[in-house]
Symmetry: C2
């Protein structure tokens, strides 16, 4: 029967093991790159053999899926932390804050960024459930910008595309540097100016 203490203990353990596996996958990704995230490598870190992971995940992509959800959940948290620390007082403030926070969040961990951009992993498509945190982040952003009067979908699309473009350029052309990071503030100012006609 569901809801009994032992049942809870069991699902708790099960959940803990899943977390352990996903955390191990994150370690491998950060230490050796996303390409090195192999079932054997992950299993070894948790003291298992590769096939045993199938007791917890239906496939390797299911692990990616959990990582994808992790990344966007963390991203949302980073955004909320940033706005708690420096509550934006104007649209310009807000646009700088969210752009810079997202930029730094992405650039600090290439593997995580690659995961968040599902396109970079051939054949991987996040499940609707795992996609939810990503949608939530975007919804939150829309909500915040709406309080400053920006509600048009295209305005937000262009905003995110610009920030994404700078992140991409940074990682592709100057990883570890800050060449495009230095352009970010200028780009945002330009964009906010254009919104004010």
């Amino acid at each position: 029967m569901l809801g009994t203490p032992s049942r809870n203990r069991q699902t708790e353990r099960r959940e803990a093991t899943r977390r352990e596996i996903v955390d191990a996958a994150w370690e491998v990704a950060r230490d050796e790159g996303l390409a090195q995230v192999t079932l054997r490598a992950v299993a070894e870190r948790v003291g298992m053999r590769a096939p045993s992971l199938y007791s917890h995940f239906a496939s390797k992509h299911a692990i990616y899926d959990a990582m994808f959800a992790d990344a966007w959940t963390e991203c949302g948290r980073a955004g909320r932390e940033a706005e708690a620390k420096h509550p934006p007082q104007s649209l310009r403030d807000a646009m700088h804050l969210y752009a810079a926070t997202f930029f730094d969040f992405c650039v600090v961990d290439l593997a995580r960024f690659q995961l968040m951009n599902q396109r970079t992993i051939p054949g991987f498509e996040p499940s609707p459930e795992s996609y939810a945190p990503a949608v939530a982040v975007l919804d939150e952003l829309r909500d915040r910008l709406a309080t400053f009067g920006v509600t048009r979908l295209e305005d937000i699309d262009l905003y995110t595309a610009i920030v994404g473009g700078l992140i991409d350029a940074q990682l592709a052309n100057d990883p570890g540097g800050d060449r495009w990071r230095r352009l970010l503030d200028h780009a945002i100012d330009m964009y906010v100016d254009s919104l004010n006609h």
Copy 2:
């Protein structure tokens, strides 16, 4: 000895076979996606067995390498064709022209775009020789924009980052559609305005 007719005939045949292989790889990429570009699949299209490809390329990545060079060479050609057809009369013209040309060039073939963005293929790094056409395209762009007075490196960096961001967003969020394509002209106008202070 080098330079004899027979030697030329030999290297010609050799070159032709290399081309055939790379073309076959392009076919597979376009028809079935980059992930399906396997040595067996490529070899089958040229009537060979997979190991035989090693007589012409040192590795699968070497084939990617040739494709990478192809893509950027074509990209440069597309740019020159576009400017021949509609010679830009102003900075604004030019920025619209190159952005739209590049955007359309990328969006029309996802596999090609993934190749041009080497980051999307785990472990693949283009060789300096294959990188040359990519550098040439950027040099050409710099040269053209310079004739309209834009010479600051950061200005061109931001320009390419914005265009790249829109392409990325288009392919990631609305493949086959034109949602971000419609934002492109507006983005470029905004950017040119910002250059004119």
